[in-house]
């Protein structure tokens, strides 16, 4: 297992480098720049700014300089939010995103897996069909519909929960977390149901039944782990996406998370900010796929080889 981790972390380095260089070039190829405001800047001001940020150098040189600073852990300054470094912006926004995404991840896994397993045990009955219809609906509804809807019902009409911003307590978390978790819950429920329903027909389950093992023990001991393999493969990348911020949810509920910086950064051509967020996102995806692989190995020992 140690070798698997080491190998995966080593192959992650070229992957990350390729992603950074590609995004760097893509950003520069896009028309416009960080200093194209409503009013054009005086040419000498603009030249001075570009010299400060190194934009007057050739593209390969800039990539090289960026990578050099990145190797020292420096994401560079933001070009639009003056006086802020990208690291500072991320450090401020990431905890909010991690909190909301983490809660949503836990909620979606717990709810989705239990609902999926429950449906699989009633496969073909009406409870199963109703639950799977609900899961399909949840997966299909975009967060820009469910978010405002939840805010309208529980915030405005019923007045139970705050609809915007953070407060001292915890209840500001409820609506964004639920809205973020809903589609993931639906997908997890469908995968868990399909996984277990397939597993229950397998030969090794029949062999366990032949030994007279109690149904709940069979479920826990023989069926659960293989049934969760598809869930694990989905949750790896989904976790990375949840934890790095959800633009729509952050916008709807007025939260200062990472997702907003990503979109704002891209719109403003704030090159270092976008690259910083992309790098973070890519690193998290690689990390969570590694977690998913380790979980596979635990769920099914056959996957530890190869």
């Amino acid at each position: 297992m140690g070798r698997l981790i080491a190998r995966r972390l080593l192959t992650a380095i070229p992957t990350l480098l390729a992603i950074i260089v590609l995004s760097f070039i893509l950003m520069r190829v896009a028309p416009g720049g960080p200093f194209d405001g409503e009013r054009p800047l005086a040419p000498e001001v603009r030249a001075a700014l570009e010299a400060t940020y190194g934009l007057d150098k050739s593209l390969p040189e800039q990539v090289w300089m960026y990578l050099g600073r990145l190797a020292q852990g420096d994401f560079g300054p933001s070009m639009v939010y003056r006086d802020f470094t990208v690291s500072g912006l991320i450090a401020e926004a990431l905890p909010v995103s991690l909190l909301i995404g983490g809660c949503a991840l836990v909620l979606a896994s717990a709810l989705g897996i239990s609902a999926g397993l429950w449906a699989a045990l009633r496969a073909g009955k009406w409870q199963d069909e109703a639950l799977m219809l609900g899961a399909t609906l949840l997966t299909a509804l975009p967060t820009f519909v469910t978010g405002p809807l939840l805010a309208l019902i529980f915030g405005l009409w019923l007045g139970w929960l705050p609809v915007s911003g953070q407060n001292e307590g915890w209840n500001w978390l409820v609506l964004p977390v639920v809205a973020l978790a809903l589609p993931v819950t639906g997908a997890v429920a469908k995968l868990a149901r399909a996984g277990l329903a397939g597993e229950l027909g397998a030969d090794h389950i029949r062999a366990a039944r032949a030994r007279g093992i109690a149904p709940l023990t069979i479920l826990r001991r023989h069926a659960l782990r293989p049934a969760l393999v598809p869930v694990a493969s989905y949750l790896g990348p989904a976790a990375a996406a949840l934890l790095t911020g959800a633009v729509v949810i952050e916008t709807v509920f007025g939260l200062p998370g990472l997702g907003r910086y990503f979109v704002q950064g891209a719109l403003n051509r704030d090159y270092p900010l976008v690259l910083g967020v992309v790098t973070l996102y890519a690193a998290l995806i690689i990390l969570f796929n590694l977690f998913a692989d380790l979980i596979y190995g635990w769920l099914d020992p056959r996957m530890r080889e190869g």
Binding site: A207, R209, I213, E305
Partner: protein, 514 residues
């Protein structure tokens, strides 16, 4: 208490279909009773349904040691299974839970009837008694580390761990390599005799069970066609069905059937090597075929026989130009055939393949006529193509109107005949038959083997007959080549091979098929 397992007028329905009707038999303590018959005859259904282990619903009566099983609630039925019975299933590859070690399987099995947790010595003894090598090491292993035969031994050890008085074995050896079948079957019988267990054995392989079972029930379409002692049914079946079934099962003891005359040599393969890179990151290669040479004459059948992994299919594929070849020379009537990518349409016409799984080798969305006529696509106008397809259907013994059907509506034997018609439509000189009858029921397989014989006589076809079944090879082939670990260890005319076997692999195969 009435000991034994008594089944009276058992009827099994799946949804509204009656699968098994009016089956009665008795399994006395210490006795071995076999349920045999063609596939779909209801053998497994009859054995498994009273114990709640099939999709069917049982009615009638099945009494085990005085307890009526039919209608017993699942909770109590589950106790009956746990306490009295050990089950062995057909698929050793999938009947063990992948994330549980051999030790965990044995512990669960030993404790299923309320026994105490077995210690290491006890578990090693269990594995030892089923003939598994290095038992201490195996305990910590996961099932995927074991071969099919090793897994079946673990399953047998688990089935016996709680000391049951009955063993129910559903096709326990049919998924295993030919060389292993006899060995595992003998192990099961020995364990039953030693421990005084009774066994209900389900099998479609009459030749494999007739020496082992005390009594035999032949099932035909859910009914008992014939029952009696195994010996009596094997030697002189009373019913027509029994006679056909017995005749369809090749045996080494049978008289050699005559084969058509052969002509001059057509195909020569010299020093064929095939290797594959080892899977994974490591270096190294797997030598699948090593220095294999063979010849095939016009109108001749050459059987390529060996255990699984012996390289027989890989060699066949290399010869037909379907698989890669590292070095070697393949020539046709003295002219060298190029490597597979460089073979022309005319080269490809010469050798046509028929594979093991007929349904998997037919495109499910195509009609039978389109499947058969695909090789003629750019050569023959459409109207004539349909005629040719219908003619070919007739030649392989199917009605002409099958042309409009889809593969899903065909039985296994019909689908294999369609696959043969497709091979014939290219007008080949030689067929590569890769286990072409092993997925079929004995009666159907016998019909397909007879079809190959007829095609050979009528068209003068040469056949490269790849099979794991030595008795079948003896029945159908002029010469037999035995493969082991990628090498052809012996190749001789069939009479000579059996009269005077040279290689150890051949002797082992003959012993295993006897």
């Amino acid at each position: 208490m009435n000991e034994g397992y008594v089944v009276r007028n058992l009827r099994v329905c799946v949804r509204d279909h009656v699968i098994v009707e009016d089956i009665s038999f008795t399994l006395s303590p210490g006795e071995i009773v076999a349920l045999a018959g063609a596939s779909g005859a209801g053998k497994s259904m009859s054995a498994m349904t009273p114990f709640g282990l099939s999709a069917g619903v049982a009615s009638g009566s099945a009494i085990l040691d005085g307890i009526e099983l039919v209608g017993l609630p699942e909770r109590q039925l589950s106790r009956v299974r746990a306490e009295n019975i050990g089950f062995v299933f057909q698929q050793p590859l999938t009947a063990l839970t992948p994330h549980r070690t051999v030790r965990q399987h044995l512990q669960e099995a030993a404790m299923q009837a309320g026994g105490s947790k077995p210690d290491k010595t006890a578990m090693v003894a269990m594995l030892d008694s089923v003939g598994l090598s290095r038992p201490e090491e195996r305990l910590a292993q996961y099932p995927h580390r074991l071969s099919g035969g090793e897994r079946q031994r673990v399953l047998i050890a688990a089935a016996l761990a709680h000391g049951p008085r009955y063993l129910i074995a559903d096709e326990p050896v049919s998924a295993l390599d030919a060389a292993l079948r006899g060995e595992i079957m003998a192990l099961l019988v020995r364990l039953c005799r030693e421990r005084g267990m009774a066994m209900l054995l389900v099998s479609h392989d009459l030749a494999g069970i007739e020496h082992h079972a005390d009594r035999l029930l032949l099932l035909e379409q859910g009914k008992v066609a014939e029952s009696g002692t195994a010996r009596q049914i094997a030697t002189s079946p009373a019913t027509d069905y029994g006679k056909r079934l017995m005749a369809a099962t090749p045996r080494l003891s049978e008289r050699l059937p005559p084969l058509p005359e052969m002509g001059e040599t057509l195909l020569e393969a010299e020093n064929v090597h095939v290797h594959f890179p080892k899977p994974g990151w490591g270096r190294g290669r797997i030598d699948a075929v090593v220095d294999a040479s063979l010849t095939l004459a016009k109108g001749e059948t050459l059987a390529l026989v060996g255990g699984s992994g012996s390289g027989k299919s890989t060699l066949g594929r290399a010869i037909a130009g379907l698989g890669s070849m590292a070095s070697g020379l393949i020539s046709w009537q003295g002219e060298a055939l190029p490597l597979r990518q460089r073979r022309s349409a005319e080269h490809r016409r010469l050798i046509q393949p028929v594979f093991q799984d007929p349904l998997a080798s037919l495109d499910p969305r195509w009609s039978v006529a389109d499947i058969i006529a695909e090789p003629l696509r750019w050569l023959v106008p459409e109207a004539e193509r349909d005629d040719r397809a219908a003619d070919l259907l007739e030649e392989v013994g199917l009605p002409r109107d099958f042309a409009t059907r889809k593969p899903a509506s065909l039985s296994g034997g019909q689908a294999q005949r369609v696959a043969i018609a497709r091979a014939l439509s290219a007008n080949p000189e030689m067929l590569l038959l890769d286990e072409a009858t092993s997925a079929l029921d004995p009666l159907v397989a016998d019909g397909v083997v007879a079809l190959f014989g007829r095609l050979q006589r009528e068209r003068g076809l040469s056949l490269l007959f790849i099979t794991h079944d030595l008795a079948l090879a003896r029945r159908a082939a002029h010469r037999i080549a035995v493969m082991e670990a990628g090498r052809i260890v012996e190749c001789a005319p069939r009479e000579e091979l059996f009269a005077n076997p040279q290689a150890d692999a051949t002797k082992r195969l003959i012993a295993a098929s006897g």
